[in-house]
């Protein structure tokens, strides 16, 4: 259905995909304190590949992604689920947030936590779901 991508689109897609992916990771990580978070970041990441999809088609995009979107969904749900249980080991109700601050040499503190794992799960689940639908629809078009 789509015409082969124009030169501008081609060039833009190549550069924008890594930038958008970086931005999505940025959004994901800052999400707890600033606007952002797993859901938004997942949407941004899918946006990146959606652009690529429009430009180069489904097969090339699949190659670029390397991971099947269905597996991404699985990874997302898996992360979501493993963040449920750590609280159990501390005798708290399921899903109670656990925090493991780590001091890096140089004085920077990284706060690892189950909400972070959970957010990563949301990220992949959203990313995978949107990409699954988009690629499936595109492939149906291309046939």
């Amino acid at each position: 259905m789509m015409k082969p991508g124009t030169l501008i689109l081609h060039a833009a897609a190549r550069f924008l995909v890594p930038l958008q992916l970086l931005f999505s990771v940025f959004l994901l990580l800052r999400g707890h304190n600033e606007p952002g978070g797993g859901f938004i970041a997942g949407l941004v990441a899918s946006g990146a590949f959606a652009l690529y999809l429009f430009t180069f088609g489904a097969a090339v995009t699949r190659d670029l992604m390397r991971v099947d979107p269905r597996n991404l969904i699985g990874i997302g749900l898996f992360f979501g689920m493993i963040s449920v249980f750590p609280a159990l080991f501390n005798g708290q109700p399921l899903l109670t947030a656990q925090w493991w601050p780590i001091m890096l040499p140089g004085g920077t503190e990284i706060k690892l936590s189950t909400p972070l794992i959970f957010d990563i799960g949301v990220y992949f689940a959203v990313f995978g779901s949107v990409m699954l639908m988009l690629i499936a629809l595109t492939e149906a078009e291309e046939h």
Binding site: M1, G31, H32, N33, E34, P35, G36, G37, G38, F39, I40, L43, V44, S46, G47, A50, F54, P69, R70, I73, G76, L77, G80, M81, S83, V84, P93, L95, A97, W99, K111, S113, P115, F118, D119, G121, V122, A125, V126, G128, S129, V130, L132, M133, L134, A136, L137, T138, E139, A140, E141, H143
Partner: protein, 861 residues
């Protein structure tokens, strides 16, 4: 105790691995688990008999007052011993009985899972936990009844059992919630020990009816008794275990457990006594008419369950004593009798008493054991069944409230003597008669005889030394059921009294009836038409009604028109919400007019975009206008300082537009198929819902039902959740469970979209027809469309596989193929196309497919 339940489940889990190596010997290995647990529970007998109660606490969902706390008192100890003790022998028995059966593996897994669930049920202190185990027993029972799933009768019986017990389970859940409201807790111990009376609570009547529905369906009380005899389609170990000794007593257990707090009222007495007495009589009467050994036993189980309910209904201390004794006696002899009936069936090849006779020479031990167990069933000294029956009669004379109960009980006990004689004498005495020849019939392996031997021995020991069984086992159980310490004892000899006289009368009458049994059975045939109109007919009518209603509402509501769906949903929403709104809160008219100019501007764009979207004739234009609406809403979010919502809205909107554009090209060209009238009607519906939403929003501003939680969230976002972005903290911390559910829904939705696109028969013919065959009826597509679409498909296939020659697919699809065999022999087909071909048949001709299934079903049976 939690560990005890867990161990059984673990045993069920590892069974498949062990089975690979040890085959049927796995069962002998697995029997160690319940045997060890029996010993463990038996070790607690002295402590429980001394009046102590063992409580193991374990939190599960403390916020909802749900715990895994388990309690061992007299009643649960007796049940636990029965479950594990009889369970040990059943597992052994199953090992030999199903030796060489291809699915023995599956059988053992489900059997052990059932055992764990049943044990959990009787130990659970929390009503919700109890309910979970309750439903688990229903499900495992379903799997076990339907074990021979290639037989239609087994499948039907399994489904019937499941539907009856699960429907009751729903009522039970309602009853449990009401009980928890009335009793102030979900913990049974707390409800029982609480001083405020549940019986005087306003919810009492409703609660009792719901609880009784749950208990009666599970325990096969009249008029729900019909599923139990049908459940005899299960292999014998299942009948012996679930449908006589344990599961069917779950309902009785629940009533006994709650008796001290919810029992004793007039309503309780009347319902339980009446239902119990009727069940008792129905069971005994139906048993008298049956000739299948297992059916005989099943109906006599119905009778026993009725007796137990009756005793609970009578509710005196004597009745409680009788209850515990009868329960123990019944489990012992009935478990043994079922296993013995299975041996006869297994060895002689039939369980129709009319086809059997004179087996005592071939199966001497089985004959003796059956005889002794049947004595207990008939209530003849010195068996434990006699002790229990004397108590029943005594309690009835002492406390029953109506004359018809006396009559039903006495007639029932006459019938049961006859039934016991039939079971004990018919197969074993008289001239030799069996489907198998005499020299092929021999005693079964020890694994199958062990259970009956031990259970019958226990019946005998308990009968000879009733004081012993009474002191250690039934007395603590009686105390638990009565809620106080009951002063009583079990004895074989109660002196020359009325119960003894009644026993003697029923014995003599029963034996006379046995002499005339064949005759009586033939006479009773005239009642067949009436029995056919019994409660089971109600079940079938109910099932038909469900199908009818489902069909009707599918035709009305889900007729395939999207617009119709949408209109139904919207109108129902408008009707219900609008009614609530007007009836409760009236209309609030609350316009704060002080808006800024730029806000008005955004609003203007929003309205303009919305109007464009609904009137435009171009699809792309509509999509763009919808996008405009979305982006403007994002702008509104940002204006009211909700950046997260704004960003999300923009991203979602972008992706939605992309998705829509992708779909757009797949749609047929734009055309107006609705009349002007329909369009006006739809516009009116849309306007109504818009107006309603407006009023709803105005009300949410004005009416504050609860203190908003946002204050708490804002305050604690950083101190507790270490996050300054409250939206994100809500998503991943405060409301993480919701989000978890949402990502699962999202994943499912994506899978659904994927399945719809990928498995659409028009996109990929022959590749996969799941969606098409399962959901859609065979489609009637105009000839020209078929050719058109197939050409396209064909080209695609040629490109991809270069296998099919032109014309094949078109030919096969064009004429509907009547049967699979025809299709297979079609010489035009290349081998690769045959896959797709089968699917075509399945899709194209529904009737031939079902015929095939029919044939497949018929063959093994």
């Amino acid at each position: 105790m939690q560990l005890a339940v867990l161990v059984i489940y673990l045993a069920a889990l590892i069974t498949p691995w062990l089975f690979v190596q040890h085959q049927h010997r796995t069962a002998y290995l697995m029997a160690i688990v319940p045997a060890a647990l029996t010993i463990w529970f038996a070790g607690h007998i002295p402590m429980i008999a001394a009046g102590e109660v063992l409580i193991h606490e374990f939190a599960w969902i403390p916020g909802l007052d749900i715990s895994f706390t388990m309690v061992l008192d007299g009643l649960s100890l007796m049940f636990a011993l029965l479950i594990c003790g009889i369970g040990t022998f059943i597992v052994l028995y199953a090992g030999a009985y199903l030796k060489g059966h291809e699915d023995q593996n599956r059988f053992l897994v489900v059997l052990l899972a059932f055992m764990g669930s049943m044990l959990g049920l009787v130990l659970a202190d929390n009503l919700i936990t109890l309910f979970v185990f309750w439903e688990l027993t229903s499900i495992t029972s379903y799997l076990l009844i339907g074990f021979n799933h290639h037989q239609e009768s087994a499948r039907k019986a399994a489904l019937q059992g499941l539907i009856v017990t699960v429907a009751g389970g729903l009522a039970l859940l309602a009853g449990i919630v009401m009980l928890a409201i009335a009793g102030g807790s979900y913990s049974i111990q707390e409800i029982l020990n609480s001083s405020n009376s549940v019986t005087s609570h306003a919810l009492y009547t409703g609660m009792l009816i719901c609880l009784l529905l749950g208990a009666f369906t599970k325990s096969a009380q009249f008029p729900f008794h019909f599923w139990l005899p049908n459940a005899m389609a299960a292999p014998t170990p299942v009948s012996a275990y679930l449908h006589s000794a344990t599961m069917v007593k779950a309902g009785i257990y629940l009533l006994a457990r709650l008796q001290p707090q919810i029992g004793g009222t007039e309503l309780w007495t009347i319902i339980l006594s009446t239902v119990g007495a009727f069940t008792l009589f129905t069971g005994a009467f139906m048993a008298l008419r049956s000739t299948d050994l297992k059916k005989l036993l099943a109906y006599s189980t119905v009778m026993a369950l009725g007796t137990l309910t009756l005793l609970l209904g009578i509710g005196t201390e004597l009745a409680m004593l009788g209850f515990a004794a009868y329960l123990l006696a019944h489990s012992l002899y009935k478990g043994a009798l079922f296993m013995l009936a299975g041996i006869v069936d297994h060895e002689a090849g039939s369980r129709e008493v009319t086809e059997l006779g004179g087996l005592r020479k071939q199966l001497p031990l089985t004959a003796i054991l059956t005889g002794v167990a049947a004595l207990s069933l008939a209530g003849i000294p010195p068996l434990f069944g006699f002790v229990a029956k004397e108590l029943l009669l005594e309690a009835m004379i002492d406390g029953a409230f109506a004359w018809f109960i006396y009559a039903l009980v006495i007639v029932g006990s006459i019938f049961i003597v006859t039934v016991a004689s039939v079971i004990a004498l018919r197969p074993f005495f008289g001239a030799f008669k069996a489907p198998k020849s005499a020299d092929k019939i021999h005693e079964p392996p020890l694994a199958m005889l062990a259970g009956p031997i031990v259970l019958v021995a226990l019946s005998l020991v308990a009968g000879l030394l009733p004081g012993l069984a009474g002191y250690w086992i039934t007395q603590p159980a009686t105390n638990a059921v009565a809620g106080t310490v009951v002063d009583g004892y079990l004895a074989l000899w109660h002196g020359l009294n009325l119960p003894l006289l009644l026993s003697a009368v029923s014995l003599i009458a029963g034996l006379i009836l046995f002499k005339m049994w064949d005759n009586v059975r033939n006479r009773l045939r005239i009642l067949d038409p009436i029995i056919a109109r019994g409660p089971e007919r109600g079940y079938f009518l109910f099932m038909d009604a469900i199908v009818w209603v489902a069909e009707w509402q599918t035709r009305k509501l889900q007729n395939g028109s999207m617009r119709n769906y949408l209109r139904t949903i919207v109108l129902v929403f408008v009707g219900l919400t609008g009614y609530t709104l007007l009836a409760r809160y009236q209309v609030h008219w609350n316009f704060d007019i002080s808006v800024y100019f730029h806000e008005l501007l955004v609003l203007g764009v929003l309205v303009a975009a919305a109007i464009t979207a609904s009137v435009t004739h171009s699809r792309l234009g509509a999509v763009a206008a919808m996008g405009g609406v979305g982006y403007t809403i994002a702008l509104v979010f940002i204006l009211f300082s909700a950046p997260d919502l704004g960003i999300t809205q923009i991203l979602v909107e972008t992706l939605t537009v992309i998705l829509l554009v992708l779909v757009l090209f797949r749609l047929p060209s734009f055309s107006n198929i609705s009349t002007t009238r329909e369009r006006i009607r739809d516009a009116a519906v849309a306007l109504t819902v818009g107006v309603l939403m407006t009023f709803l929003i105005m009300i949410t501003i004005d009416v504050q039902l609860f203190e908003p939680i946002s204050g708490y969230m804002i305050e604690n976002s950083y101190p507790l959740a270490h996050g300054r972005n409250i939206v994100n903290v809500i998503l991943v911390d405060y409301r993480a469970l919701d989000t978890l559910g949402e990502i699962f829904v999202l994943a499912l939705a994506a899978m659904g979209v994927y399945a719809m696109i990928k498995f659409n028969p028009q996109t990929a013919p022959g590749a996969n027809h799941f969606a098409g065959t399962l959901i859609l009826p065979p489609k009637k597509i105009p000839e020209k469309d078929i050719v058109h679409s197939l050409d396209e498909i064909h080209l695609a296939m040629l490109e991809k596989e270069e296998i099919l020659a032109p014309g094949d697919v078109a030919e096969n699809n064009g004429k509907k193929i009547a049967a699979a065999s025809d299709a297979k022999s079609n010489p035009d087909l290349s081998p690769n196309a045959s896959d797709g071909h089968d699917d075509d048949v399945a899709e194209g001709d529904g009737s031939s497919e079902s015929d095939n299934n029919q044939r497949k079903e018929d063959k093994p049976s």
